[in-house]
Amino acid sequence: MSSAAPALAPTPAIPLPASGQLTKKALTADHPTWCPGCGDFAVLAAFYRVLEKLNYPHQNIVTMAGIGCSSRFPYFVNTHGGHFIHGRALPFAAGISLGRDDLHVFVFGGDGDGFSIGGNHLVHTARKNVRITYVIMDNSVYGLTKKQTSPTSPLGFKTKTDPTGAIDQPINPMRTLLNTGASFVARSHATQVNHMIDMMLRAAKHDGFSVVEILSECVEFYEGAFDAANPRKGGSWKLIEEKKSDGTPEDEQRHDVTDEVAAFKLATLAWPGAFGVFYENKKRPTKNALEADLIVKAKERTKNASDLALLQATFAKLR
């Protein structure tokens, strides 16, 4: 073959409901068990709106999570879904996504779940570009286990495991995510409901591994963690302005979401940094498509023989 990029069939589109509109009422399940005031409520409310807008067939939505306060999410959403083990929801979701191309798979989890125990899975699920939408609810602390240092806890933050203040350098989530090779990386804030909806919608529509980090305050163990980005608390809300390619001089200054280096620069801005889409790569094939292509090619080679005929032919060779 001459061209480097494999010619792939597009990943099959997820079917839309023949009729009817998904409503918040239909999507509501158990009453959330989070502490009153927890940022995660707002993420949940935004997610209902996202699902209403996407209006996928109800039975084709899957909501998965690992373990943590934030990972309780699937119990509060009335879709197929589950609550897996700590840090491993991504490989589980990869199995769902690669097993069934008719499903839309959402994964929710915390900063510990995603960046600590699940850190390596994040890297590899992103590298493989498995079609999954992943929302990390970052509260910079371990909530469920009651205030231990998390990989995003800032230096000096006092926890039960760092009573004199955190001494290990935290990771920079945006830089980490960009480094994984995730093909869609965005950042939002739980006090900005419309922005969250917008980011999650774009992530869901992205054909590949998309991840949105949402700063979501733990009122119980890290009050005010993200006030610096909350105008109502005196903070500054810096939105990323994306390039419009309208030829105007202002456009020069806007962010090109396909430019990885520019995305890294945005990721290195001083706290609290910028919000919006950092990076989007629509060209990388998904693992779903690459695997589907392997199947198509294998079936071509075997001239679409039935499973039984194939197996019989193999056994004949083993005689």
């Binding site: 239909a26 399940a29 158990d30 109800h58 039975q59 084709n60 939505i61 899957v62 699937p74 119990y75 009335n78 879709t79 197929h80 879904g81 589950g82 609550h83 897996f84 083990i85 491993r88 490989p91 589980f92 979701a93 990869a94 199995g95 769902i96 996504s97 690669l98 097993g99 069934r100 008719d102 499903l103 390596n120 899975h121 890297v123 590899h124 695997e291 392997l294 199947i295 090619k297 294998a298 079936k299 080679r301 075997t302 499973d307 039984l308 194939l310 197996l311 019989q312 193999t314 056994f315 083993l318 005689r319």
Partner: protein, 627 residues
């Protein structure tokens, strides 16, 4: 010069030096060299030839963990009856190097035949126990093949030599060689044939006096009417899974599990499936459970240390009641241990290696053929009982080649389509009065309520609960379904005397030497039975009475006697039956049991006067040459 590829010799020769071949029933040939000598290939050819003839075959091989440039052996036992074990001692040893000679001469039976490469080996001149056959294997190969191939065709030269000595079917063998090298250039096939012919026609010395033929098979026609297939245990297991309708899986490489994942990675796409190579074993088991949840019963697997990494997720699969197949190809442990040797020391890990009360299903195949069928049974149990099922195979089965009757594929094939039909309004993922049947995503729920699968204790709808009553009920639900499986299992295979002095118990790959040991023990006049377990957890019901019919129950397994003097399965049986007559024969030298080792172990336990050590060392074949 007698060339096998000249028409007049097709199908063998009838006499050598005017003498007809001596008739033999079975023979054990050990080839010892370095791993790059292609010794395994010779073994493979012999195995497949035997598979295409009426002989049974079982091979035994060790692979050095240093992958290349280390010692390598292949032992093949070919015979006309049922071959149960690899053979305790070799009747013929082919030694390519001095180190091969030094390391393996001890495995040659007194009276056996030593073929050695005079270019590299100087045998002990004072050792006159064997018939020594000196052959300049290296120079002869170089001369025969010529060109740039150097000594590359040594293995095929040896194959030719063996073919002549044992009057093997040359037409079939050359067809196999051509098939094997068919994809390569003509030169390769030509060189192989040159090497083969040279070995077959090697004229010198006393080699011409060695001439044997296998007795005609005395077997019921029903078993010979099926064509035979020849493969190793890992291949059999992989194709068993495909037959069982498994099309999805995930894994991480580790010896000796890797070849299963390699086979599945290239086979699954042909069947519309996917096998994912993951970043580690935790991701692999998680991905596999994700497949299963999506309605695609999946397989993951590993060896010892990798199985340990999967344990947390396996606990989840038990709690969430997710069907799953986990293959563990056992090797010597703990840790990296003896990665290319055999052991049966992961039994406790397989049964109990998790947190919490997590009853699981553990099966073990007894031979290569059973690797195929155990995969089918594992899939059936996983689906029927919505539970993870572990298959405990081992290094010996993984790499051993055996021939067996081709399975009835049309009858066995399972359709893998998930059930996505709409579920009734009263659907519950975890009903207390029935076995869980998950509704995979994509399934419409009549009630409008969608199920959650979870590792938290839950109510019938899958919602988390802290209720002690529900935890009791759900624990019982998970336990009772496995007990129900136990009640449905057939009694384990009993052979020999149904009561008597001793009952030998084996599991997994120790079946063959165990069976053969009991045959020998009974020949020596001891009333003995052999009970072999394929279902290790849950155990089949109704064995208490059977165990009381013998004075001693000797459990032979490849693991350590532990702190209390019992192997792992013996511990299980003692706990289950509280029978103090259960004793152990264990070993951890990295090799499968020799029949004589089991016989000696039995003798020690029953303090028999009839059974002395000589029972274990009876000559296996009349190969010895009259001198």
């Amino acid at each position: 010069m007698v060339s096998p590829n000249t028409p007049e010799t097709q199908g063998g020769i009838s006499a050598v030096n005017g003498r007809p071949p001596r008739s033999i029933q079975d023979v054990v040939i050990r080839l010892a060299g370095n791993s790059q000598d292609g010794i395994q290939a010779v073994g493979g050819f012999l195995a497949r030839l035997a598979g295409r003839s009426d002989q049974d075959v079982m091979t035994y091989m060790t692979i050095p963990s240093t992958i290349s440039g280390g010692p390598s052996i292949f032992q093949v036992r070919i015979g006309t009856g049922d071959i149960l074990s690899a053979g305790d001692r070799a009747d013929m040893l082919v030694a390519l190097y001095q180190h091969s000679y030094d390391a393996h001469i001890g495995s040659l039976r007194p009276g056996g035949v030593l073929v050695y490469d005079t270019d590299h080996v100087k045998p002990n001149p004072d050792d006159n126990r064997f018939t020594n056959v000196p052959v300049p294997i290296t120079t002869a190969t170089v001369e025969a093949v010529g060109g740039t191939a150097k000594d590359k065709g040594k293995n095929i030269f040896i194959l030719g030599l063996i073919a002549r000595v044992f009057d093997l079917d040359v037409a079939k063998l050359t067809a196999l060689i051509k098939e094997r090298f068919g994809g390569k250039t003509e030169d390769v096939v030509r060189n192989a044939m040159l090497g083969f012919d040279a070995g077959y026609a090697w004229p010198q010395n006393n080699l011409r006096d060695l001439f044997y033929r296998f007795e005609a098979a005395d077997r019921p026609t029903s078993t010979t009417s099926h064509p035979q297939v020849t493969m190793d245990g890992n291949t059999a297991l992989a194709f068993g899974l495909i037959t069982a309708g498994v099309r999805h899986g995930a894994g991480y490489p580790i010896t000796p599990w890797s070849s299963i994942m390699e086979t599945l990675r290239s086979e699954f796409p042909k069947y519309g499936g996917v096998f994912v190579q993951c970043e580690d074993e935790i991701a692999a088991v998680s991905t596999a459970i994700g497949f299963s949840y999506s309605g695609r019963l999946a397989i993951t697997g590993s060896s010892g240390p990798g199985l340990s990494l999967k344990m947390e997720a396996l606990g989840w699969a038990t709690m969430a009641e997710m069907p799953l197949i986990v293959v563990n190809v056992q090797r010597g442990g703990p840790s990296t241990g003896m990665p290319t040797n055999v052991e049966q020391s992961d039994l406790m890990q397989a049964i109990y290696g998790s947190h919490g009360d997590a009853p699981r299903v553990v099966l073990a195949p007894k031979n290569v053929e059973d690797c195929f069928y155990v995969a089918i049974e594992a899939a059936r149990i996983a689906r029927t009982y919505s539970t993870p099922v572990l298959i405990l195979t081992d290094m010996a089965l993984a790499s051993r080649i055996e021939a067996f009757d081709q399975p009835d594929l049309p009858k066995l094939m399972v359709d893998p389509a998930p059930d996505l039909s709409e579920r009734d309004a009263d659907f519950k993922p975890y009903p207390l009065d029935r076995i869980t049947r998950h509704a995979p995503p994509g399934t419409k729920m009549g009630s409008g309520k969608y199920p959650t699968v979870t590792g938290l204790e839950h109510d019938e709808l899958g919602h988390p609960t802290g209720s002690p009553k529900l935890h009791l009920q759900m624990t019982a639900k998970r336990r009772e379904k496995i007990k129900a499986l136990g009640a449905s299992l057939p009694a384990p295979e009993l052979s020999g005397d149904s009561a008597g002095e001793v009952l030998l118990v084996t599991w997994g790959s120790s079946w063959g030497p165990g069976r053969e040991a009991v045959v020998r023990v009974r020949k020596a006049g001891v009333k003995a039975g052999h009970l072999h377990f394929r279902h290790l957890h849950p155990l089949p019901n109704g064995l208490e009475e059977m165990l009381t019919r013998y004075h001693k129950i000797v459990v032979a397994e490849l693991n350590d006697e532990g702190l209390y003097g019992f192997g792992q399965f013996a511990m299980m049986l003692r706990a289950r039956y509280a029978n103090p007559n259960i004793v152990s024969v264990t070993k951890t030298d990295g090799l499968t049991f020799k029949v004589s080792e089991i016989v000696a172990g039995i003798a020690k336990h029953i303090e028999s006067t009839q059974l002395d050590a000589s029972v274990g060392v009876t000559a296996q074949s009349p190969l010895a040459l009259q001198r």
